[in-house]
Every structure is written in C-alpha cells, then in structure tokens.
C-alpha cells in the first residue's frame, strides 16, 4: 500500500505534465474546427481582414445565408444525404451477409476470398475513375437509373468500395456471437433465416453501426466521383460541388466556404459522436480478433 502511494507521489508531477500536454494537443487539434465555425459566423469585413482575431464581437449569419440561398443548396444537401444513407444501408446489409458466411461457415476458397477482400481494400478507387466512368456511361444506356449524371452513379461505386472494409471489420462482431446460441436456436426449431435476421442481426447491430461510419464518410466526402460523373445534370450534384462554387479566380469567398464547410462537417460529426463508443470497441474487435 505504502509502496504504491510512494510511487504515485513520485509520478504526480509527470502526470500533471502529461495532462497539460494532452489539453494543449486537444486545443491545437480542435483549433482548425474552431476557426472554421468562427469564420463562418464572422461578418464579411472581419474575414477579409489582414488582422484576423480569434474571436468575433458581432457574429452574423450572412455567410450561412449566402450558402443556403445559393441555388439548389438544399437540394445538394439532400442529394448527399440520400447517397450516403443508401450506401450505408445497402453496404451494411450486404456486408452482414458476407461476414456471416466467412465467419460461421467453413467452405472451400474461404481463405482465398478473405485475402481477396483484403486486397480489394488496397485498390486505389481514384485510379478506377477512368474505367468506372466508361462503365457508368455504358450502364446508363441499359439501366437509366445508374448512368452518368444520376445519383445512382455515385451510390453504386461507393457500395462496392466500402464493402471490403465493412466485411473485414464485421467479421469480429459476428465471431463474437457464441456458436452455442446458434445451436440453441436450431434446437428450438428456428430456421436458418430466422436465426440470421432475428437473433444474429440484432446482436451484430452495434458492429454494423460502427462499420457504417466508414461507409457514411466515404460516401459523404466523395469528391472525385461527384466531380467526374455528374457532368451536366447539376440538379444531381452533391455538397462538395456546392462548396467549390465559392472558390473564385478573383478571390475566394472565405465566409461562404467556411459556412459551407461547417454545414458539411456537422452531420458527420454528429454521427461520430453518437457512435463513438461503439467505434472504439469495434476497432479493437476488428483488429484483435
């Protein structure tokens, strides 16, 4: 007892130093976000000032007004949200089934498949923009819903690209459900699909949520496909494009950019904070299993 207390006393200044460092780092890390929100609320004159101050005495909503009054901004927002939600739901369901297959069954090519899912994560999706562009163009001729200039052309590739990581990460969660549960369900006469959807699915759901963060972000943040596939149909543009409007040759409208960035960051931030705990344990599980 006395020994551990002695050790505590020795370590105390170190802990205070560590805590001061942690708070300082937290402040530095949070500063860009603080500056973004601050600049969004600053009145025009203060942003384009050569003496930027880290506070504002007269917050204004002008920049936000410019963002929202921009033609179709609400539409861009809804487009982004729609794309992200469809991607999240579809890839979660598909990944759940696939993760169940590779963790609860032993079959030929199982290891091969797992390695393929791993390799698939490495594929630089930007490099695939070129063939993807032609694929979408050709698909659009037979299936109008997913051709170029449609939201489908943003949804479908993102489902494909978020799947490998989602499957990889979900494995840990599916594995964590004891197999005796499946046996018990069987003995009680539950069919395979009943077990899958009414027992396994709710148990794995927290993991699905954690996995969804990554699909959500990749779809929500997408900039390249939105830029390359939505060429003429501006009504199908997504948020990143709305942001680029404020970059002008004669000088960027920083107020508008910062307000737009704030609007774009907020949903992801909310999502993150909500699933934060599951995310941490989920990563632990995915990495350790």
């Amino acid at each position: 007892m006395s020994r551990s207390r002695a050790r505590l006393r020795v370590r105390r200044p170190w802990r205070l130093l560590a805590e001061a460092t942690a708070l300082l780092v937290a402040a530095v890390v949070a500063f860009p976000l603080y500056w973004m929100v601050l600049s969004a609320f600053k009145p025009e004159g203060e942003i384009q000032s050569t003496h930027p101050r880290p506070w504002t005495t007269s917050p204004s909503l002008d920049s936000f007004r410019r963002v929202f009054q921009q033609e179709d901004f609400g539409r861009y927002f809804l487009n982004s949200l729609f794309v992200a939600v469809v991607v999240v739901v579809a890839s979660a369901l598909i990944a759940f089934l696939a993760a169940t297959a590779v963790t609860r069954f032993r079959f030929r090519f199982r290891t091969t498949l797992l390695i393929m899912f791993l390799v698939a994560q490495m594929v630089p999706i930007e490099a695939l923009t070129i063939p993807m562009f032609f694929l979408m163009r050709d698909l659009g001729e037979s299936v109008p819903g997913i051709g170029l200039n449609t939201l489908g052309s943003l949804i479908v590739p993102h489902i494909a690209f978020s799947l490998p990581f989602a499957i990889w990460m979900l494995r840990g969660f599916v594995k964590a459900v004891p197999e005796s549960l499946e046996e018990a369900a069987h003995l009680d006469g539950a069919s395979r699909s009943r077990f899958l959807w009414q027992i396994l699915f709710p148990l794995v759901f927290p993991g699905l949520v954690a996995t969804s963060v990554f699909s959500f972000i990749s779809a929500w943040n997408d900039f390249l496909f939105a830029k390359s596939f939505i060429i003429s149909a501006t009504e199908n543009s997504t948020l990143p494009m709305a942001l680029l409007v404020f970059f002008k040759d004669e000088g960027n409208d920083w107020g508008g950019i910062m307000a737009g960035s704030t609007v774009m960051t907020l949903p992801v931030l909310v999502f993150f904070v909500l699933v934060q705990r599951r995310l941490v344990s989920g990563l632990g599980g995915a990495v350790k299993d």
């Binding site: 402040a27 369901l93 598909i94 696939a98 590739p157 494909a160 993150f272 632990g284």
Partner: protein, 329 residues
Amino acid sequence: MSPGTTTKHGRPRAAAPAHRRGPGGGGATGARRRRAWTPWFYLAPALVVLAGLLVYPIYQLGLISFLEYTQAQVSGGEPTTFQGFANYSQLFGDSQFWEVTTATLVFAAVCVVSTLAVGCALAVLLTRVRALPRLALMLAALGAWATPGITGSTVWVFLFDPDYGPVNKALVWLGLSGFEDYSWTYDRYSAFALVLLEVVWCSFPFVMVTVYAGIKAIPEEVLEAASLDGASHWRTWRSVMAPMLRPILIVVTIQSIIWDFKIFTQIYVMTDGGGIAGQNLTLNVYAYQKAFASSQYSLGSAIGVVMLLILLVVTLVYLRLLRRQGEEL
C-alpha cells in the same frame, strides 16, 4: 495460420447437433448439401457487386492501358487500336513520371511515419492522464477524424492563407518576420508540408484510438506482474506491451500506407490540382489529370496500373507478416 482451423473438405465447422442425424438418415446428405451452399447464398450479393464494380473495372483499367484511347476513341470517331506496351514505354520515358513517383513514395512515407508517431505517442499519453483531459483529447481527435477531406483541406488552406490566415500572423508575432505574406503553396516543399499537416491532422485519430484500445486491452495483471518482477518502464514496453500490440501496429501501419499512398482530395484541393506546374503531383492526381484534363485515358490508366502494382506489393508484405504471426484469417 494455425493448424486445424480449416477443414479441407469444405465441411462446416459449426454443424449443429440437429443436423447430425446419424449415418443412413435420408435427409442428412440433402441437408448437408443445402448447408454447403448456404455461405455462397450469403456471399452472392457481395460477390456480384464486387465483380461488377471492382474486378471488372480493374480488368478494364488494364485493358485501356494497352490501347490507344483518347477523346477520338471515346466519342467513337476513331477505332481503338492495340498498342502493346507503347503507353508504358511512353510513360517510363517521361521524366515527369519518375519525378511524380518518387514524390509520391517519399511523401507517403513521411505521412505514414508522422501519423504513426503522433498517433502512438498520443495513445500512450491517453493512458497516463485522468478522465477529463482524456475526454478533451478524444473529442478533438474525433472532430478531426470526422471532418470530410474536402472541408478539412479548405480550412487548412484558409488557416495558412497569406493574406487572411492566422498562422502566418502568429509566426510573425513570434518574431519570424519571414512569414509576412508568405505563400505556403508557392514553394514545392512548403506546399507538401502544408498537405502533410492536414493529412496527419485527419488521420492520426484512427491510429490513436486503435492503439489506445489495444493498450487498454492488455490485462492489468500482466503489467503488474512485470513491475513486480522488477521490470523497468522500457523493459515492460519492449518485452510485454510491444509484442502484444504488434498485430494492432501492423494493421494501423498498413492502413496508413494504403490511405497515404492514395491521397487525392488533399493534394487536389490544397495545391489546386497538383501545384504550380505540377510540382505537387502525386500518382493519383497525375493519373486523373492525364485522363480527364488532357484526355489521355490510356496513359492515365497505365499510371493506375502502376499504382495497383505498388499497392499489391504492400498487400503481399502484409499477408506475409500476418502469416508469420500465425494469425488466422
């Protein structure tokens, strides 16, 4: 891979007792056959999507890289012609390609090392502090993590803006008068440094959170036993913690390599499409510019193939490491 985890006959390991109906049971083989197909039913949607939207495009990418494919072929004005390795030899003969490749490799390496160093150091720091500072750092990190690449990039550009940015002002205030109106994106290296800062800012949280979770998962008794045995801090880290964290460190390293090698949005937004005269191009942006800005689709595809091959090597190294650890897939 540890022995005995995979049966070589494709027999499901989790066979429920209800299925074992004894040797002559008529339904047994039928049920088993049905069961053998079940995983493939579950896998079908994923495989269809991946085959159509990942494998097929990769095949196409490889194909286009061997063709002459410019605007004329896209619009159907001219037939596509097979070029063999002509695109590749044109690419490899271009000094800009080698410059961009070197820049990509060096830049990715610096990003990976910085991200890992910052992330691991902060993860250790998190274990040494009480709840409140820990929460503050966690929340700040989550904020940086959640920030979309494009908004993160614009915010950092704004922070370092020569006219209105607070960073230059702060540096001048600190006595570094050289930063008065200093344009970070004008010089090649300072532009890369700016992108590096943003990349580390938005990717260290993943490393920090994961490694922190890993450290927390080490049982308290193990560390206690080590300290009772008189092990020093360094010794505990080297002989107890590092080996236990190894799998996690491998995962975060590989993920960082994959992400940092493929950086696109940051370079594209912060250096305005690859910097002045392409001084900040990385392979990804280079391929995109070749294909979509100058309509040289086949050259762009060839660059894409080169990227794929480099990442494939990384993957193989990763698999070897996993296997040497005896990790089960």
